[in-house]
């Protein structure tokens, strides 16, 4: 059994921020848009790492919220008051937007992926009159899931700090069952119930790991949808 925990401490460069937000929103966002929002105070000023800008979870939430509201026809000045909210409130705003769904608010920009997914859903359930369709995952949850992926990309294993390089798992107890906890990278953990016996080192273990990797891949794809 594998679980991925995604803390909200991922850091992004501008490119990565655009990529993650773009995936969440199903639209392409240009660097100019982000700079514009930053100069208008809709997004906090980015941090600096050397000469390049560094963005965090809050920036991502702000960007996604501004775009999502703008697509619903709100002017930037109407959106501004939301952007200064605390992170938890930003997430809540996004959750509520999600809950409205396509049927209620009809985002003005529909993207190919969305239209295509909609049509594919139609083929599976051609007797189902639900025209709204839509995703069950909230923006905030998708953001969290995507954050974990970016965290991995951001901090490749080779550059992780020494303290994170804990080769042995630690044990924890959860609801009476015992779990092995492995830290793979900062912010990325794998939990394995102790009743699960990993195969011994060798081809079978490689096969087992490959299987888990495929599964993880699929879950990440689902989460980013």
């Amino acid at each position: 059994m594998v679980k991925v925990f995604a803390p909200a401490d991922a850091l992004y460069g501008l490119e990565e921020l655009l990529l993650v937000a773009g995936k969440l929103l199903d639209e392409e966002i240009s660097p100019r848009t982000v700079r514009l929002y930053a100069t208008q105070g809709l997004i906090d000023r980015p941090g600096k790492e050397g000469r390049s800008a560094v963005y965090g979870h809050r920036h991502l939430l702000q960007l996604v919220l501004v775009r999502a509201l703008a697509r619903r026809g709100l002017s930037l000045s109407a959106i501004a008051p939301f952007c200064v909210l605390a992170d938890a409130d930003l997430e809540q705003q996004l959750e509520q937007l999600d809950g409205e769904g396509a049927a209620a608010a009809a985002p003005s920009v529909a993207t190919g992926n969305e239209a295509l997914r909609y049509l594919r859903d139609l083929s599976g359930t051609s007797d189902d009159a639900d025209a709204a369709g839509g995703d069950s995952l909230s923006f905030a949850r998708k953001a969290a899931a995507m954050g974990s992926v970016l965290g991995m990309l951001n901090k490749p294993l080779s550059s992780r700090s020494r303290s994170d390089r804990t080769p042995t798992g630690s044990r924890s107890s959860d609801n009476g069952s015992r779990w092995l906890r492995f830290t793979l990278a900062p912010g990325i953990e794998v939990h394995v119930r102790d009743s699960v016996l990993p195969p011994p080192a060798g081809p079978r273990r490689q096969q087992w790991l490959q299987h888990l990797l495929d599964r993880l891949n699929a879950l990440l794809d689902d989460a980013s949808r």
């Binding site: 639209e27 703008a70 697509r71 619903r72 026809g73 396509a102 049927a103 209620a104 608010a105 009809a106 985002p107 003005s108 920009v109 529909a110 993207t111 190919g112 969305e114 239209a115 295509l116 909609y118 049509l119 594919r120 139609l122 083929s123 051609s126 007797d127 009159a129 025209a131 709204a132 369709g133």
Partner: protein
């Protein structure tokens, strides 16, 4: 930036100060003209799927014209545009997958291979065409499915409401749908519902030779589209209440209504009736919000106008001459709506009442001052009245189409306009 204008045109230019009054009002929405510099090169790219019914009933002349018109369409597009050709009977065939129309020859060759066959899987055909468009959906382009059918959907999903709901779902995701019915046997209610839900054009074509004209007009309409997914919000103020909306507009969320696409050079008229209590001067009567999405940008734009009118005593108000142009437009809108009643009577099998209703409508309109437009309308009505006896099915089809002129872009051939 150019924007549409919204004009308030009251039948009488005042409201009563001493007692409740009724206000007949026309809203006229005028999209800005195409900028003179807008050459063909600057139009938004088109991303189209042409979905052609090839069920058995299309065999012979109809299909040969449908092929000819499809070849014409391919010839009119450029390398910036994408086109897919899909045909369906009980099975769907992707004749040409969506691709840029750099050279129309491959399209023409493929179109010539379409032959007629089985039953009518209309929904599956639509979905296949839509999927072609969706795979290259371009927010900067006009993305549309053109559905041509001569028959009743009798294979796969066939329920009108369900199909319309699915078409509406796709409209929200950026792909519109136009529905073209050909001949005497197509399902006018289904095609009308699809075009309404699809934010597209509705056409009824009696003879297949009109197809090329229709496609030309559709291309022209697509390239001159100023706003799509247009919504109209009406809010009576200070006790004024909108009691009647003459157009048959699809409700959207939040008490608003869907209008047809805004096209350069094409005015839209919306007829309203309001009930007002005794009115005080300088009080706002109505606020109207028009919102639309400009092709090529995801942002919704909007325009809000507020109506104020002078007040006077009701006796004085009665003396005011009504505005003839407004009276004419309101009468035409009422005539469209009255057709819906005639259809209801026909569907009950009550041809007598239907004829009587049509006759009364004809009488009401003929009592008005003659104008070219009214004369044309009277001709349309008398045609339908005659058809009720000889060919009630065709009469119903035409009545349905004409009734939707105030809520949809409905194609009319040049013969009908003159």
């Amino acid at each position: 930036m150019t924007r549409p204008t919204l004009r308030f045109r009251p039948l009488r230019p005042a409201v009563a100060s001493d007692r409740p009054s009724t206000l007949d009002l026309l809203l006229t929405i005028t999209p800005p003209p195409l900028p003179a510099a807008a050459s063909l090169r600057e139009r938004p790219p088109l991303n189209l799927a042409l979905v052609i019914d090839r069920s058995g009933s299309m065999g012979g002349t109809k299909l040969s014209y449908a092929r000819k018109a499809a070849r014409f369409l391919a010839g009119e597009l450029t390398g910036r545009d994408r086109l897919a050709i899909v045909s369906f009977d009980n099975e769907v065939q992707i004749v040409v997958p969506l691709r840029p129309v750099a050279d129309p020859q491959p399209f023409i060759a493929a179109i010539n291979t379409i032959h007629s066959g089985g039953s009518t899987a209309l929904f599956d055909g639509w979905r296949a065409g839509a999927t072609q468009v969706a795979e290259h959906l371009d927010p900067a382009a006009m993305n549309r499915v053109l559905l041509l059918s001569d028959g009743q959907a009798n294979h796969g999903l066939t329920d009108t409401d369900q199909i319309a709901a699915k078409v509406a779902g796709l409209t929200q995701r950026g792909i519109s749908t136009s529905a073209f019915g050909l001949g005497d046997d197509f399902d006018e209610d289904l095609m009308g519902a699809m075009a309404a839900a699809g934010d597209g054009t509705l056409a009824h074509i009696e003879t297949p030779s009109q197809l090329a004209d229709l496609y030309a007009s559709e291309l022209q309409g697509l390239t001159s589209t100023f706003g799509r997914r247009v919504s109209l919000g009406l809010r009576g103020k200070h006790g004024a209440e909108v009691v009647d909306l003459l157009n048959d507009l699809t409700p959207t969320g939040a008490g608003n209504h869907q209008l047809p696409n805004l096209r350069a050079g094409q005015e839209l008229n919306v007829g309203l009736q309001l009930e007002l209590p005794a009115w005080s001067p300088n009080q706002e009567i109505l606020s109207v919000r028009l919102a639309w999405e400009a092709p090529g940008s995801g942002d919704r734009q909007s325009l809000i106008e507020h109506l104020h009118l002078p007040v006077m005593e009701s006796e004085e108000l009665k003396q005011l001459e009504p505005d003839d142009a407004v009276a004419e437009q309101l009468a035409l809108l009422r005539a469209n709506r009255e057709r819906r009643r005639v259809i209801t009577e026909l569907d009950r099998g009550d041809v007598l009442s239907a004829s009587a209703s049509l006759g009364k409508l004809f009488g009401d309109l003929s009592a008005m001052p003659a104008t070219p437009r009214l004369t044309r309308e009277l001709n349309l009505l008398s045609d339908k009245l005659a058809l009720l006896k000889s060919d009630p099915n065709r009469s119903r089809k035409n009545l349905r189409r004409e009734s939707q002129r105030s809520s949809l872009n409905v194609w009319e051939s040049d013969d009908e306009q003159t």
